[in-house]
Each structure stands twice: as structure tokens, then as C-alpha cells.
């Protein structure tokens, strides 16, 4: 059945494995040798979440926020970056009808990644606070079943925590565009994996020939707030090979969300 336009969040049935324990390539994982949950070293993953969240979910590390348990978790400065470099894997169904397009979206990854979909590789560049969007229309499997593997690398400069602790450890994390608290502060113990992971939403967005990107809404006021204007700007992308004759519609209503009531 063809996909309807809209967003589908991929937050279930992810697997993960430490990269040093996986002998297969991304191409093999997403073509001939997809992993299964009962197959070591693969485990259920927390997506969105961090590598440490996945290890905790599988009881492979103690809860770092309980007592002094964080002290027994191996720090990335001692283990090396490879120890916290992890594969994440999932499958999804998506079958498009004529003139439909689909993007695979990552809201945030820490710190960089390689994405493999059905044997095709895409590189997601560095940066903890950037969105990634990949047009996967042409690499979907014709039967609708798709295999997705993501190899996530930790920050380039995870740093080392001095024995006395300190504000931001040895400050090395400041060389990257990433959260700095992960080297520990006066209010927080160091985070052993430095928050490596797919830490925000992963989704598919299916559209027709034309898609919208990042609409921008701004208001202006006149006459002591008696008059207001809503200004809207939107980026439009025509993904087809022909001119698109469109109608762009905006509607502003006064609905409240679900069970939220204003008193």
C-alpha cells in the first residue's frame, strides 16, 4: 500500500551493537546480513537516546545516576573512541506511489555518522546541533521493506577527566560543536560516552512533487496591539522534472491541543 503524505517517526525496534564487535560492513548489514535481536552482539537500542542509555537499558552498565555507580563505567578517555562507536539498525516499510518523494530525517546526532540504507552509503557530517535530511526516494526497496544502519561516532575531542574533576574536565570538548557538560561540572559527574548517539527524533517524511522547508512565522503590531499582521515565509522545493502549478494555502485557527485547557 502506498504511503500517505506526512511524517512517520522511527522510534521503535532499533538494535545496537558496539562497532568493534561487528565484522560486517554497512552494506552487508543492509543487504545480505541484517542483524536480529537474538544475535550477539546486537541488543535493543534506545533511539532517540545515547549509547549509554542503550547500555543501561540492556543492564550492561549500572545506572550512572545512582550512588557512585558512574565511577564503575569505563570513560571514553580510557576506552578510546571506538568503544563508544556504535551501530544502530532498524527496518521500516515505505512504498511510494507515482510522484511521491521521501526524506529520511535525523533531528540530531552526536557527533557524526555513516548512514546505510539498502546497501547505499551516505555520510552525515559532524555537529551535535544540526539536522540531517536525506532524499531516499531512489534507494527504497521495491518490495517496501527497507534496511537502515547508522554508524555513530563520538565527539572528535572527548577529552580526559582530571582526577580532581573540574569544570568541563580538561576542556577538550570545547574544540567540538557539542554539549560541554559531558566532561563533568560542579553539578554533574562526567558522562562516560560524552552523549554519543542518535539523540533526537528520526523520521520519514513523505511528500508529493513539492515539499515545504522551514516555514517562518512573524507577527507585527500596530495601534497598541489592536491590529496585528502575521507574516509567513516558506521555502518550496519542486522535486519533479516539470514546472509545478501549485496552490499554497494558509489557515489560522484557534484550536487548542488535545486535553490542554486554558483557565
Amino acid at each position: 500500500m502506498a504511503a500517505v503524505i506526512g511524517k512517520k517517526v522511527l522510534d521503535e525496534e532499533w538494535l545496537a551493537a558496539r562497532s568493534t564487535e561487528v565484522d560486517l560492513s554497512g552494506i552487508e548489514l543492509t543487504t545480505t546480513h541484517p542483524p536480529t535481536s537474538d544475535q550477539a552482539p546486537w541488543m535493543e537500542a534506545v533511539v532517540p537516546g545515547t549509547v549509554l542509555a542503550t547500555l543501561l537499558k540492556n543492564k550492561l552498565v549500572p545506572d550512572p545516576f545512582y550512588g557512585l555507580e558512574n565511577e564503575s563505567i569505563l570513560d571514553i578517555a580510557d576506552s578510546g573512541r571506538e568503544y563508544y562507536t556504535f551501530w544502530f539498525f532498524t527496518t521500516f516499510e515505505c512504498k511510494l506511489s507515482t510522484d511521491q518523494h521521501v526524506d529520511l530525517n535525523f533531528h540530531a546526532i552526536n557527533y557524526s555518522a555513516e548512514v546505510y540504507l539498502n546497501g547505499h552509503k551516505k555520510v552525515l557530517p559532524k555537529g551535535m546541533f544540526r539536522r540531517h535530511s536525506i532524499d531516499i526516494t531512489d534507494i527504497l526497496n521495491s518490495d517496501g521493506e527497507n534496511l537502515l544502519a547508522v554508524l555513530v561516532y563520538p565527539p572528535d575531542h572527548p577529552g580526559r577527566i582530571p582526577p580532581e574533576g573540574g569544570q568541563g574536565g580538561d576542556h577538550e570538548i570545547g574544540k567540538d560543536v557539542a554539549a560541554q557538560y559531558v566532561e563533568g561540572w560542579d553539578w554533574m559527574a562526567p558522562i562516560r560516552d560524552r552523549n554519543t548517539g542518535i539523540w533526537d527524533e528520526v523520521s520519514l517524511s513523505v511528500t508529493g512533487p513539492v515539499k515545504m522547508v522551514d516555514p517562518h512565522l512573524v507577527s507585527s503590531f500596530f495601534d497598541d496591539y489592536k491590529r496585528a499582521y502575521l507574516h509567513t515565509t516558506v521555502e518550496l522545493v519542486n522535486q519533479s522534472n516539470s514546472v509545478a502549478e501549485c496552490s499554497l494555502n494558509i489557515q489560522v485557527g484557534a484550536e487548542q491541543e488535545g486535553d490542554i485547557f486554558l483557565v
Binding site: 546541533f129 574544540k175 511528500t207 512565522l217 497598541d224 502575521l230 519542486n238 501549485c246 499554497l248 494555502n249
Partner: protein, 237 residues
Amino acid sequence: EHLQTQHLYIPAGSHVQHTLPELFFYKPDLWWPNGMGKQYLYNVEITVDVKDYGESDSWSQHFGFRKIESYIDSSTGGRLFKVNGQPIFIRGGNWILSDGLLRLSKKRYETDIKFHADMNFNMMRCWGGGIAERPEFYHYCDIYGLLVWQEFWITGDCDGRGVPVSNPDGPLDHDLFLLCARDTVKLLRNHPSLALWVGGNEQVPPDDINTALKKDLELHPYYETSTNCKHSKEEIS
């Protein structure tokens, strides 16, 4: 008057930016911070229909009509805020993140933010050593009336102060920092709770980053003066 349709032709394979004609509202219900009034939210829906295809894409967002101004008071050196022209006494708290393993669920955000609203806070400051908070965080700040002071990823301890003194030149890749900053602004800019962007915590970013951020985030003069500019628009019929 809150519904509008425009017909457009978009060239094949192109990426264009389009501004819709402005929509007029007479005495809109305003969005107010916690304790000053209702957090009135409109629902904005945009759809694009393509001839011979049908609905091609849709987008929706809660939107609050509000104007936030702030300036440094010359006598005290403190930053003063006004919302919708009214001075507001800020009762704020520092916020870093909800969970050190980044298990950031909507339910947790709602609980945490409602808790801050129940404490009678009207502002949360997202510390520069943490994360750029997520749209779900801002969504609940919109709902519960928490203004947000969002810092970019610079701290005194890691970026030029600290013991021992750290590197004042920020991250190695300044272009990457600005790319992330611009993308984050696009992600969060439509939330009425977003009150102020700040370069960092207890430190000014390196000159080139700071200059670029200030330039990119400068308020357009049109919006700076619009509440005082009574004659720049047609009179109400």
C-alpha cells in the same frame, strides 16, 4: 480573513523562498508569560496542493501573538524585559537538560516544565554548556508560559576562562558552529516562548562567531518600530 490561497508556478528542480501576503488580525488574543495572562495559541496550517497531484505537503504549528523586547538598564546593568509592551519582573531559573542520557520524552518535558510553571517561574535559561533544547521543550514552554533564554554552546570554563585558562577561540571549526546555530534558529524560531538568544555562558564567543550571530539575529527594523508606527499601514475600515 484568516484563510488565504495563492497560486504559484515553481520551476522544475528548483528551491525557492516565498513570502505569503500578510494576514490581518483585529485585536488578536495575545500570548502572555505565566502569571501575566493566558498563553493564547493559534494553530497555523500551511498546505501546498499541486495540480494533477493533490495535497503535496502540509505543515502546522502553534503560534502565539506576542512582542518581546529587552534592553540593558543603564543604572543597574541588568537586563529588563517587556512583553506586549508591559514590563515583566523575571522569575527565572537555570535549565540544563532533563536527562544526562538524553532520554527526552514529551511526557518528561511536560512534567518538568509544568513543575517550573507551578513554581511561579516565568523564564527558563538554557545554559550554554548544555544543549539547544528540543521543539518538544519549547512546545510545553509555549503551553505553560515559560519564556526561554537560549544560549549557544560556549562556556567560560571551556572557552577562555577556567582553571587552567582554556582556549578563548571556541570550537576548532567556526563555520560548523555557525551552521549549527543557524539550523537551530530555524528549528525553534516559531515558538512564542523563545525570548532571547545569547552567545554563551559567562563568555563572549570568538569575534567572528559573535559578529555573525549578532548580524544574523538582528531584529529587522520593521519589527523594531511596528507598534509605534501607526501610519505605516492602512487604517481599519
